[in-house]
Structures are given as structure tokens and as C-alpha cells.
Symmetry: C2
Subunit: 568 residues, 2 copies
């Protein structure tokens, strides 16, 4: 493709509205243009990269046995009302009415379409498992679209849906998709973190996010400094400490007037908060439960909720303490009867001779020890993650990283098939709801994430897998016929070798061409100018590393092919 | 692909809602499923055929120098208000408001997006001509969606837009697209009619429609029985008759009481209406004009409007006759002064000795002859086409045909660039509005039109160009291991040869498999059953012609390849 012909308008200046590198550079390099807030036109260069991503995704989905279909964008509201998401999505859902006043919406995801589709035509267990996917634009009316292709209102997604007879089948379908996703992201050459995640509005059970590391990312995750542990911030757990051993102090009640908080207690006694044992009270399905954590840590209520699901968790309110005989601010686990379930976080194993509440107003105890002075019914992971916590795998330091979530996969169970009546006839003749999984990948998000991972201050620096063109041949001396002729021959030679090449044949100065080549970011640059051609050579440059080399005029095509094969 | 695995649910019964073959068969053969009125999911077989159409279109557009981009579906209303189409489309436009109460719409076409895009980034004449296209879903809130994929609310379209400096450039861009379209439809193997057409709501000047013949089509056109003339019903013109020569009668005024219509006059005189000369009066930009046609024909006002454009045409009302001195019902062209422009349709040349009005109440003349008794200022094509008219090319009989419009291309001029302020800087430094062309092809319509042209009472009968799979290998005796094994080897052999093959490996009866093979309609069927395999043969069948042949087991792959190469 000749650059003189390509619709790839580059911008010299940084667009004022662009806050992050991918937004700024995709605009400047002529990959995208904004139509309105959060809605973009994809220009030829952007479309080429998007198509590469699509091709990788499609090939891996097909190889994993999924089948491509195409579902509508404009959808009837009915099924969404049946699953409750018509309300749940709130203002994030684009709603409209047609000329006959029927309520419609623009699909943000497609469980409500695909489940009835499969239920209508696959009534038998013999046709399972089944996995259907599509690559189509999705809609979400973001309150404040920003960050270019990262927080948008229209985005291209691959969404797949698996249908199985039972939980085992669903888990197997999930495993197959998980592994396909690992291959997809490896082929995209992206630096990815996979974490177990929160299901959010999609709901269901086990789920994972595939995140691209990015300094500007809005999505946080936890990682070990040694790279052997990754987790969602909600799910991260610190390493279980070495047991502290038996207590050395005896249980002693002390006067601690006006110390209902850990802070006031530690100050009064002149000790670290970590020496105290916090005893937090909850109502779990009508019964009392205590959660023990070291005084310097917080209980992660989500973790407790997951532990006791489907039972409901509610923190004690003032009247609960009074009504159930607990002294607020001075609760300790000693002497709790069997009616109270005592949970302890694993970190509590690392302490002994605790200071904790005495269950009497304005008094605490010292020297409280597990088993000797109070029992624990369940040892569990129940604390909030803290920056700097030790890694559960190797004890290394855990840090919070920033990323862009590219993909979220879910085991949905019957969450959608049940309310939508999406059933099949099982071997025993009984009608059963499908076990579903759903598997998304943001295609347009990958484009942005790649631009975030692959750029420098001069522009984009594509890896081969997603580059819009592999090579740019630059006519560095536009008015020097011999070098222009040579550039054409090298261009033709590369095209013959099946390589996607851009030829910068514009009447611009060498400086403008070099700047645009660095901005657009094709992996290999071939610079054909008067000085080189007079000396019988062309210059080659690897965009990512800035490594330069020369090749003879006749050896240029082979040299480019070799360079490209070795390029990242 | 194994049919046991493919999501291609076939239906035994005709769906009640399907009125035409393509709708009925695309549903029954598992190509599409309805989600709501006029909105469909495309299943794997349908998607494969749609992708083939897309590929042909994309290759020919790229070869013609057009560049692919992708524009949004959800659009801001502003530019549509600027061009007036926000109102003009009326209830056919899907409208919505976002959470910030901004007016949006779902794009039915994209002039309002692409013109500002190009104007923002291509300010120089040096970057012209430019042709940008996309393949994307379009929206139209049809009052009564029906006929499957023919009258829908969501449809896949290729839309291209050309930008030129001047009218000559625009015409050249149009010619390039016209020829690309001829290649596209030839490659699709569709039987196509190209007619000059009415611009409709898109507006502009020269435009053509590419129509697929179809008995169920809603779009009418005129064609000669000898296949050498095609036209839009509005534009069709009959052959100019042989001149009738000089008159033999003298001009004679006769009493014709109470005969203000051709019918009453012909009845009174006992002559054919075609012997009378009708003189129809119009106001053209404030002046009087007469249009002469034989008494048995009607004036086509559209043709007159096009002739005098941009002047406005209005048929005479009662008061015009009185005010301008014409006797309504008795007007004849004799003695009209130069202030009246006299148009005559070319068919008037075929008559002489006309009976026409005498310009006096209740009186006509006989023996009126052109030039001798009245003048004609302009000989033009001005009659309404009539079924059975002679062809202008060869005199053969013209008939009205039915079709499905697949494509409409337009020379738009500055119709959109002007109101949208889409300008470039020309060589002389002046800012000028682009000359645009627009070029649509209905991808999902081609799918339906192909199904209309290629089916019989047993099902679909794909031509190779658009077949979802080229070959189906049928295991006709599912419980006979040797023939099942043979079918697998033939299947593998065909796949190795790069052919897209379906293997019917289901546990169904031979009858069900044969019926489904005819229903889905792959061009070549390979039937591998016990009887044949015992005799060392397989049966081959060409779906379109129903021709059957046999091949040896070892020669089966070669025989299929040869058969396929000869298949339509």
C-alpha cells in the first residue's frame, strides 16, 4: 500500500482531549477518529490491526470447537426484563422505542439472545456441549466516556456462550475457553495477568479476568514481586504466618476506660495495634458470628459473604449488641457459647498473648491465647489485602498493579437459563436448565492496550502480531530518481514475498517521513535515500529497539525478511 | 465440519410466518433465526455464505482503490439535522436519547459521518480522489417488516463514498464503482439487471440500481423479451414509431357536444382512442406548456420534470384554463402562439390525421397534422411506459419484471458536502465542497436474493460462489462400519484438497440425511452407503441439476473435485 494513497491522516500536535498515550497516539497516527464522546470511527490502519486481533481470536475459538454466529445489536426488552438486567443496568443501557412503541435496547452482552436461541433449537442433551460465539459491536451508555478506546460507548467484543448438561461439563467448557484465551493473548504478544475476579453484574460463580499491564490502567490487581502470584484486589490473600506457638502470659483482665476502638486501646497501653485482637460481630442468617483479625487489619466482608453463601451477612448494628448481650467496643471471643460461630483469619495464627475485649464495659484482657482461652470454629482467609503483604506462594512482597481488563470469563450455571426458561431434555427425559458459561474479549480494547504497552515518546511501536503493516519503505530523497526507483523495487520484492508493506511515496521531506514512520510504528523501517543508494546500501531500523543496520541494495529484501523474522 | 457438531438446526415444517421461498428455506435449513420482527440472528451456515459475499465485495472494492474503514452505528443527530434527513426519514429512523438527553440515531446510511471525517483530515485537492467504504449493519424502522431478510430493520450493507474535486472526477469515480459492481455480481453468479433509477431520499443526479431477478421481488423494472433493454418503470421509453408520413385529410372542425374526455370523444366518433391526439396543459415556471401524446397514452410527469429541471412543473388547474384562454376538454395545438411551449412525445410521430381539440367548447377538429396544422417545439420521451410497448432497441415486446434491488449507486454532487460544510482547498486556493458519490450493496439482501434464485421445492441449491460448504459427504448407512470409515477417508481427502466439506455423521436415517442435504443445498453430494461400498462405489449428485453419477471408492475424491469444478 502506498502511503500517498492511504487514508491515514497523521497529526503533528497532541490532541487536547487525549489524556493517555494510547488515545493520543491512535489519534495522532491516524488509526481512529472521534465521532462523539465515546464513539469512534476506525480508519484503515486501525481496522487492519483490529482485523489481526479478530483473526487470532476467531482461529483460536474455532480451534477450540466454538462456532461463530452473529446476533443482532437492537434487541427486544422482554428477555432483559425476565432476567432483571433491564433494571440492573440502569442508565448504562441504551434504550429506545420503535415506531410501534415497543421497548428495545442496544445489546451490552447477549445472554438474553443466545439462551433462547439454543433452547428453541437444541432440545436434546445429545447436541451438547455447544459453544456459540460472535464478534460484534456492543453498547454501554458510559456516564463519562474517556481514555480513547478504553472507556467507550461502542466497542467491539468477541462474546462466546457455552451450554452444558451439568456442572462438570460447564467446568470443562470453561477450561477449554481458559486455555484458548491463554493462546490468544500469547499470539497477540501482550503482557497479560490472569486473576480470579469478582463476577459483578454478570453474576455466577468461578470467573477470571485477563488483564494487560498498563500504567494508565484503571483496573487494579495484586501481584507478588517475584511474579508467582496474581489476584484481584478483592480476592488477594496474604501468606499464612508461621504459628506463633503457645502463649506465655496468663489471661488477665485490665481496666481500659473509654477505649472502644483499637486505636484508643493501643494508645492507652502503648502497644502496636497488631498486638490486639479485633473481634468483629456479624449477623449471619439470624445467628451471631464473630470474625477475629489482628487489630491492624480489616475484615473483608465480601470474603465472609462468599464463605457463607447463600446465607446473608449483615454487620451488627448497635441494637444487635444490646439485644444479644454483647458489649460494643469491648467484645472478646473468650467464653462465647456454641450459638456464636467464631471465624478467625489465618493471620491470627501468627500472634499470641493477645489483648482483646473482656466482654465488660471499659475493660479488656491481656494474654488471650487461641484454644487455651477461646475456641476458633473456622480458620479462613478473611482479611482485606494490604499493599506490602507477604505473598501466599513465596512470602515475597505483594504490590498493587494497574491494568486494562481485556477479557472476563464466567461460569454462569443456571443464572440466565433458569429465568429465560432455556431448557433441554436430558437422557432421563427430564427438562433441565442449561449450565452456561460466558467468555468475552474486548477486541477494540486490545487495540488500545497494545498501544499502551507498545509505544515510546516518538509514537507507536507495534509487535509483529498486531502491526497494521510489517514494514515501511521510506523514500528518503523524494526527488532522487535512482533511490525512488530502488525503493519501488524493494517494495515490490517484499510484496512478492507476501509481506504487508507500506511505501512512503509522498512528496514530503525526509524528516516528516521519519517522524510519521516512528509515529505509525511498523516493526521494520527501510530507509532508501540518495546517500545510501549512491554507496549501494539502504538503512534498516527495528522500530521497537531502535537498532539500525545496513543492507546492500540487492540484499535488502532478504535482510528485511530476516530482520522481521527476528523482530518481536 | 461435522454436521453432528454444527449448529444448523433444520426444521421439518414450513414456518407459518414465512411467505416467500428465501424466508421459508433460510429458516428451515438453519441459516437464520428471528429475534423479533425484522431482526435476525445469523447462524453458522448463514454466516459462512454472508462472509463469502463480504469477501467478494471487499476484494473488488480494494481492487478498485477504495479503502475500508468502520464507522459507528450510534450517531449524533446534529449532522442529520444539518442535511435535513433527521426529519425526512420520519418514523423510519431509529431515534434514541442518551443518559445526558442528547439526541442520537442508528445509522441507515453514513454520508453524515463520512463527509465531516474526510473534510477534517483531507483539506487538500492533492489527496483526491478518495473512496472510503465499510461493511456494517444499518438500521431502518420499517413499518411492517416481512419477507425474511428482504424487508428488515437491521441489515448488513457495504457502503462506499467517493470524494472528488469536480464533476468529471465524480463521474470517473462512479464509473469505477459501476464496473466493480458488475464484477461483484458476476462473481456472485447472480442473475442481475442494471437499470437507471430514481434517486429517492438519497437525492442527487445519475444513479443506477442493480437488481436480482426474483418472482417474489417487490421492485419492478421493464425489460425487453429479447434481453437487450432494461429500465426502471419510471424511466422506460417505448420505441419511436416509423413516421406516419404526410396527412391525407384536410383540417375540419366538427361538432362534438359534451365530449371533454378522450373516451367520450372516441365513443361519439366510433374511433380508437389512439386516433385522437391528447393535449395536456402544464404550468412550467409561470409559462404555459402543452404536452402532446396519442389519446390512448398518459403523460409521465416525472419525465417532464426532469426535462425542465430546475424549473418547476404544475399541471393546469381549472382556473389556469380560464385565466389563460384555453378551453378545458377541447384543447388542440393548432394556432398556439410562441408563448406556449409545445412538447410532443416521440410516439406522436407514428400518427397523422389526428382528431384533437378545436380550442372551442364542444367542438373538435379532424385531419390535424404535425407541421402543416400545428408546430412542435420539442420532440421528447414523455409517455408512461405500458406493458407490451415495443422495445426502443429492437422493437421486441417490453414486459414488467419483478426483482430485488441489491444495490443502488448515486452521483450525489454537493448535496451532502454543501450543508455539512465538507470542503477541501483546491489548487487555486479556494475552498470548495467535495463532489461525492455513494455506493451501497446489501450483503444480507444478496443472501436472500441468492436463495430466491437458487432453490426448488426440496430446498436451497447454492452455486459454488456463495455455498456455505462446497460438498456434503453423507454417511447413508450410519451403522455400517466399512462405509462410515470410507466416508471419513473421502471427507479427509477433500479437506486435504482445500475443499470446504460437511460430513453428515449424525445417527439419523438415510432419508433424513438426504432431505437435509437437499434442504441445505451444498453443490455436490457424496453418498457413501453399504450397498455402494460393497460394490466398490459411491454415488455423486449435483444438487442444482440433480445429475447423478458414481465413482470408485479410490477415485471418489478426484471425481468430486472434477464435478465441483464443472458445477455452476
Amino acid at each position: 500500500m502506498r502511503l500517498s494513497h492511504l487514508f491515514a491522516p497523521t497529526l503533528r500536535e497532541d490532541p487536547a482531549e487525549a489524556e493517555i498515550p494510547s488515545h493520543r497516539l491512535l489519534l495522532r497516527a491516524g488509526f481512529i477518529r472521534q465521532v462523539m464522546a465515546g464513539v469512534y470511527t476506525t480508519l484503515p490502519l486501525g481496522l487492519r490491526t483490529m482485523r489481526r486481533i479478530e483473526t487470532i481470536v476467531r482461529e483460536e475459538m474455532d480451534a477450540a470447537g466454538a462456532q461463530e454466529i452473529r446476533m443482532p445489536i437492537v434487541l427486544p426488552a422482554g428477555p432483559w426484563q425476565a432476567t432483571g438486567r433491564y433494571e440492573l443496568y440502569g442508565e448504562n443501557l441504551f434504550r429506545l422505542t420503535d415506531r410501534h412503541q415497543r421497548q428495545l435496547l442496544l445489546g451490552p452482552t447477549q445472554e438474553e439472545v443466545v439462551a433462547p436461541l439454543v433452547a428453541a433449537d437444541v432440545p436434546s442433551y445429545r447436541d451438547l456441549p455447544l459453544n456459540l460465539y460472535q464478534i460484534e459491536w456492543k453498547y454501554r451508555d458510559e456516564f463519562r466516556p474517556r481514555f480513547g478506546l478504553l472507556r467507550v460507548r461502542e466497542f467491539l467484543m468477541k462474546d462466546a456462550y457455552s451450554f452444558d448438561r451439568d456442572e462438570d461439563g460447564m467446568r470443562e467448557s470453561y477450561r477449554i475457553m481458559y486455555e484458548a484465551y491463554e493462546r490468544i493473548f500469547a499470539r497477540c504478544s501482550l503482557e497479560i495477568v490472569i486473576v480470579e475476579a469478582d463476577p459483578g453484574q454478570i453474576g455466577g460463580g468461578v470467573n477470571h479476568e485477563f488483564m494487560a499491564r498498563a500504567q494508565v490502567g484503571e483496573d487494579l490487581f495484586v501481584e507478588c514481586e517475584n511474579g508467582d502470584y496474581f489476584a484481584d484486589t478483592e480476592a488477594a490473600r496474604p501468606r499464612e504466618p508461621e504459628p506463633a506457638g503457645e502463649g506465655t502470659e496468663s489471661l488477665t483482665e485490665i481496666d481500659t476506660p473509654d477505649t472502644p476502638t483499637i486505636e484508643s486501646l493501643a494508645t492507652l497501653l502503648g502497644i502496636e495495634p497488631s498486638r490486639t485482637l479485633k473481634c468483629v460481630m456479624f449477623d449471619v442468617a439470624g445467628r451471631s458470628a464473630a470474625v477475629l483479625v489482628p487489630g491492624d487489619r480489616e475484615v473483608n466482608v465480601n470474603k465472609l459473604e462468599k464463605l457463607v453463601f447463600p446465607e446473608k451477612v449483615r454487620p451488627f448494628e448497635d441494637e444487635d449488641f444490646a439485644a444479644r448481650g454483647f458489649v460494643k467496643g469491648y467484645v472478646g471471643p473468650q467464653g462465647f457459647d456454641e450459638a456464636v460461630t467464631i471465624f478467625a483469619d489465618l493471620t491470627v495464627r501468627g500472634g499470641r498473648d493477645w489483648v482483646t475485649g473482656s466482654n465488660r464495659q471499659d475493660r479488656h484482657v491481656t494474654g488471650a491465647n487461641v484454644d487455651r482461652d477461646f475456641r476458633v470454629d473456622r480458620w479462613e482467609d478473611l482479611v482485606e489485602f494490604r499493599e506490602g503483604d507477604p505473598c501466599p506462594v513465596d512470602g515475597g512482597t505483594l504490590h498493587i498493579g494497574r491494568s486494562i481488563v481485556l477479557s472476563h470469563i464466567y461460569q454462569l450455571g443456571t443464572k440466565y437459563s433458569e429465568p429465560l426458561g432455556a431448557r433441554f431434555v436430558d437422557e432421563d427425559g427430564a427438562e433441565k436448565a442449561y449450565r452456561m458459561g460466558c467468555y468475552g474479549i474486548g477486541i477494540s480494547r486490545i487495540l488500545a492496550a497494545a498501544a499502551e504497552q507498545w509505544h515510546d515518546d516518538r509514537g507507536l511501536a507495534w509487535r509483529r502480531a498486531l502491526a497494521p503493516f510489517q514494514v515501511v519503505v521510506i523514500q528518503a530523497t523524494a526527488d532522487h530518481e535512482p533511490s525512488v526507483g530502488r525503493s519501488e523495487r524493494i517494495y515490490d520484492g517484499l510484496v512478492e514475498r507476501g509481506i504487508e508493506v507500506l511505501l512512503d511515496d509522498r512528496g514530503e521531506s525526509a524528516g516528516v517521513k521519519f517522524a510519521d514512520a516512528d509515529l505509525i510504528g511498523c516493526p521494520v523501517q527501510v530507509i532508501v535515500g540518495k546517500r545510501g543508494v549512491d554507496a549501494g546500501t539502504v538503512d534498516l531500523k527495528l522500530r521497537v529497539t531502535d537498532e539500525r543496520s545496513t543492507a546492500t541494495l540487492d540484499g535488502a529484501v532478504d535482510a528485511v525478511v530476516a530482520l522481521l523474522e527476528a523482530a518481536p
